[in-house]
């Protein structure tokens, strides 16, 4: 098991937004967490990443307890993160943004920028451009490329479809799948876009009001109505 | 709403009671000294009003403090008629308010906000300090009064109402009564129609505009009120020492109100009042002791206060008092002051 979260409580300040969430992610899997706006999905993955403290519960990554370690240490250990809204550094150039990724852990091999440009040829054209001037889809590509550059074991994506035209959402899904297949990187993503969930997930956890309310896998993933019940109450 | 029973209000009532009986308890010097502290309280309250209530961070209270002080000096010394001193007081406060309004207009209608207001006002105080510092020459006469450069102006007449000169206890009570009036006004203002709009501006300026409020106008208005209060402080300071110098505009004068309001509790006028009096008393006692460690102790106290009690020393005490004695976890910012840093 690559990642285990066990009865995690967390939130902003003292208030628990996430209440006793437990999930597991196996190596090589593509797992999603689905649910409506404001049910605590982002809060939970931020806690996994270490950007928010867990009030209680534990998080294990690669057989190590990382519950108390800081975000930067988790990143160095092999967690890649694509924040909600992509979160590129707007006044850094595209290349500088990517270099942020390659420098995550100097002791581990990072990915060659050329490899990343192979996956995202658009970025190569714009490598000298300020990231803030890219379109939404390009920023998403940059954010994924940046996280990829550190060669993570686990790539966490927070709503990769947000702010992107429907046509591009499909492309991004394919890209993530390709990354998973070709590089063997495990994927955990948060989503509420039905198309993306169905296209990409191998297994998904449904979340509501801070708790996991269901787990969907296999054939059920194509059960439109079942998924819809989690996304719209 | 005003008479709501909580620690802050009880302490406020007790403080004012204490202030009223104070002259009975102590000698003339101590009364004069407290009169001085109370004069400086207006300066803190002025910043509390614009920063704590409205979210405008300003180093500029010293500007109005100094300008009105100088105005009062020039006006009363020129008129030579001591019965006109109350007019000097009133005009000084008005002029301070008007200048603040003009400065506010210049800034807020131009979209200057947040830390930049602090920087503009800081520069302005330094301009005035530099300018007034070099007015020692004979060309700097206004009427019969030389602005006096770095040495400033002294022998400024005390306030005289009719034939009664306000010194000693009478001056003290005069300051105290006006302080009480201002204090009650500020307490009322918090919940007035304008006061509520002001809190809205502090919390979310852009949104308040979209509710139809002319935000720059309200900001300028509050800034002018703050200017008038700071002016009152400046004139009382002049009345206390019969003296004013450009150091009224100096970096230290500009910083002190910020320090006091931040360390006392910025959204709470009682906290600003109490902390100002305590601070002046404490720093004066240290200075009088002649200890070379006075300034070090003062510096450390400020550092520790901000580090460990970020919501303000006094405001946090009030909060603790409320929790201990009143068990009331009032829900809203409009009622629970100083609960969160802006």
């Amino acid at each position: 098991m690559l990642l285990t979260a066990d009865r995690v409580f967390s939130g902003y300040g003292k208030v628990d937004i996430v209440r006793s969430v437990s999930i597991t992610v196996n190596e090589g899997e593509i797992v999603s967490i689905i649910g409506r706006n404001g049910v605590g999905k982002s809060t939970f993955v931020k806690t996994v990443m270490g950007l928010l403290p867990a009030h209680s519960g534990s998080i294990r990554f690669q057989e190590q307890d990382v519950t108390r370690s800081k975000a930067n240490d988790r990143a160095r250990q092999g967690m890649g993160y694509v924040p909600q809204g992509h979160g590129v550094f707007p006044t850094l150039t595209v290349e500088e943004n990517l270099m942020m990724g390659t420098q995550i852990n100097k002791k581990k091999p990072s990915m060659n920028l050329l490899t990343i440009y192979d996956y995202f040829p658009k970025l190569k054209e714009r490598k000298r451009q300020k990231a803030g001037t890219l379109s939404g889809g390009e920023q998403a590509a940059l954010a994924i490329g940046r996280a990829l550059a550190g060669y993570p074991e686990l790539l966490i994506l927070d709503e990769p479809s947000e702010g992107i035209q429907p046509s591009i959402i499909h492309q991004i899904s394919e890209m993530i799948r390709k990354i998973n297949r070709e590089l063997g990187i495990t994927i955990l993503f948060v989503e509420q876009h039905m198309g993306m969930i169905q296209e990409l997930s191998e297994r998904c956890y449904a979340m509501d009001k801070g708790v996991i309310v269901g787990e969907v896998g296999g054939e059920d993933l194509h059960n439109y109505d079942r998924l819809k019940s989690y996304l719209t109450v | 709403m005003l008479v709501k029973l909580n620690t802050e209000n009880i302490v406020a009532v007790l403080i004012f009671l204490f202030f009223f009986v104070y002259p009975v308890l102590v000698d003339a010097y101590s009364v004069m000294n407290l009169a001085y502290f109370l004069s400086m309280v207006f300066l803190s309250l002025s910043l509390s009003l614009i920063w704590g209530y409205c979210g405008i961070f300003s180093f500029g209270q010293a500007v109005f403090f100094g300008i009105s002080g100088y105005f009062y000096a020039v006006f009363t010394l020129n008129s030579g008629i001591t019965t006109l001193t109350p007019l000097g007081l009133i005009l000084g406060v008005l002029i301070g308010g008007v200048i603040a309004w003009i400065l506010g207009y210049f800034m807020f209608y131009g979209g200057v906000n947040d830390v930049f207001v602090g920087l503009i006002t800081l520069c302005l105080t330094l301009v005035l300090e530099t300018f007034m510092g070099q007015t020692a020459g004979d060309q700097w006469m206004i009427g019969q009064v030389n602005l006096g450069g770095f040495n400033g102006i002294n022998s400024i007449p005390s306030l005289q109402i009719g034939s009664f000169i306000l010194t000693g206890n009478s001056f003290y009570y005069f300051v105290l009564l006006i302080l009480l009036a201002v204090f009650i006004f500020l307490k009322w203002f918090e919940f007035s129609k304008l006061g509520i709009a002001v809190v809205a501006i502090r919390e979310n300026r852009e949104r308040t505009k979209l509710l139809g409020y002319n935000v720059p106008f309200i900001q300028s208005l509050v800034f002018a009120m703050g200017g008038a209060l700071a002016s009152l402080s400046g004139i009382f300071y002049v009345l206390w020492g019969n003296y004013i110098t450009p150091s009224a505009f100096g970096l230290a004068s500009a910083t002190i109100p910020v320090v006091l309001v931040a360390a006392g509790g910025r959204k709470n006028v009682t906290a600003a009042l109490l902390f100002t009096v305590l601070y002046y008393w404490f720093s004066q006692t240290l200075s009088a002791s002649g200890s070379e460690y006075a300034l070090i102790i003062l510096g450390l106290v400020l550092i520790v206060a901000i580090l460990f009690v970020p919501n303000g020393l006094i405001a946090s005490l009030f909060h603790a008092g409320d929790q201990l004695f009143f068990r009331e976890h009032s829900k809203s910012l409009l009622r629970k002051k100083g609960a969160k840093t802006l």
């Binding site: - | 010097y29 000294n33 510092g133 070099q134 400033g152 002294n154 009088a288 002649g290």
Partner: protein, 419 residues
């Protein structure tokens, strides 16, 4: 809410406020309530921190020395002298607070102190209001005519007049003045102008430098262009004293400098590496270096360093403070009382004290001091040479030109030369 809780909280708060009241009033009274004790209190207001501490600490130490000596010799009127000396922190506001405190609460017999003119002007009216005897023991721009104020330091008649005469005679008539842009600098510059004109010289330029300026390249370039025979520097404070180092590197060191404030006050010749202060001419009422020539000066300097071995210099303000306290003590003895009016009368009787730099006599009409003045200059290694001395220089400009006679007329103002 139940009533018991309310009462409990009220009583707790009452206790809190009462404690606060106790502290406030206790502090107000604790030190001031021993009027009938066996000491005479002497207030000393000197800056021991902040901008002026360089001179303030010297003066404070000199005061300690004087009071210690007086007490060693049996005190005054059978009582010990107790010094009350808050730190005024180079802050004029603080001067006012502390002056009031010394007068109203500590009930001191007299107050010594203040370094800058601004500090003096902050407290002088308070002294007048409260009829408090005040000694301003400091070199200054002159002109204060005030019944309550006595000055034992040097004023323009002592320093500026002889200095300018000497310089014009020795180096030539073209004089350039740079002065601090505040009252001391401006009034002193008026004295320079007045004296230069009276001695057939020509003032080529006068330039005023705001306090706090420490960079002088434009001033230096203007001076070099004007090519004066004499450069008068009336610069004040740590920032402005940076001028000398900068002048020595890009100025014209062949132009002699003249000053009334440098060296004797803030020992720039010892603080700055040579040749920053080389070729500087100064008139002073006292300097540490007088000990080469005058035994009384040597005695004072030795005493001072014995008590304060870590101090760096004993300058003219320290001497003035010391002499001022001694004069006051002498007057108290003569009046047999610390009563202000009686002591002033004693002081106005032409009282004199044989100080470290020769006799110092109070001029009754002006309340300033009749005293010796020394002209010194520095060589390239900043070694001090004593060139001339003038004996018993009278501070008589006020009495002669402004008709001041404090023994006859009440006054409380400052006169300036060009008005």
């Amino acid at each position: 809410m139940n009533n018991r809780k309310k009462r409990k909280s009220l009583s707790l708060l009452l206790v809190f406020v009462l404690v606060l009241a106790g502290i406030l009033s206790g502090c107000g009274k604790s030190s001031g309530s021993n009027d009938d004790s066996k000491t005479i209190k002497l207030g000393v207001l000197e800056d021991r921190s902040g901008d002026f501490s360089l001179v303030g600490i010297q003066k404070y130490h000199a005061a300690q020395l004087a009071v210690e000596e007086i007490n060693k010799q049996g005190g005054l009127l059978g009582k010990k002298v107790q010094m009350v000396a808050p730190d005024t922190q180079s802050d004029n506001k603080r001067y006012q607070e502390m002056a009031k405190r010394l007068i109203l609460q500590d009930k001191v017999a007299a107050i010594m102190g203040a370094f800058s003119s601004a500090s003096r002007e902050a407290i002088r009216p308070i002294m007048d209001q409260n009829k408090m005897l005040y000694f301003y023991n400091n070199q200054y721009e002159g002109g204060v005519a005030d019944n309550m104020t006595f000055n034992t330091g040097a004023i323009p008649e002592h320093q500026m007049v002889p200095l300018i005469q000497y310089m014009i005679k020795k180096f030539g008539p073209r004089v350039y003045t740079i002065a601090a842009d505040y009252n001391f600098g401006q009034i002193s510059a008026q004295w320079v102008k007045k004296t230069v004109e009276a001695n057939g010289g020509k003032l080529v330029n006068e330039e005023f430098i705001p306090l706090g300026v420490s960079q002088f390249s434009s001033t230096i370039s203007r001076i070099k262009k004007a090519k004066p025979d004499v450069l008068v520097t009336l610069l004040v404070g740590q920032d402005q004293s940076s001028f000398y180092e900068q002048w020595s590197k890009s100025g014209d060191k062949s132009i002699p400098m003249a000053s009334t404030v440098n060296m004797a006050q803030a020992y720039e010749h010892k603080r700055f590496a040579a040749p920053a202060l080389a070729n500087m001419y100064v008139t002073a009422t006292f300097m540490e270096e007088l000990d080469q020539k005058y035994p009384s000066a040597k005695k004072f300097v030795d005493k001072f360093y014995k008590k304060f071995p870590n101090d760096k210099y004993v300058g003219m303000e320290a001497e003035s403070e010391y002499t001022g306290i001694m004069l006051w003590a002498k007057a108290v003895k003569k009046a047999k009382s610390t009563d202000t009016d009686k002591v002033i009368k004693a002081l106005e009787s032409g009282i004199s004290y044989d100080g470290p730099a020769g006799p110092v006599t109070i001029d009754p009409k002006t309340h300033h001091a009749i005293r010796n003045v020394y002209l010194v200059h520095t060589d390239a290694k900043q070694k001090v040479h004593i060139d001339t001395e003038w004996k018993d220089v009278k501070p008589d400009w006020l009495s002669k030109e402004k008709n001041v006679d404090l023994t006859k007329k009440q006054e409380a103002k400052q006169y300036t030369p060009l008005k």
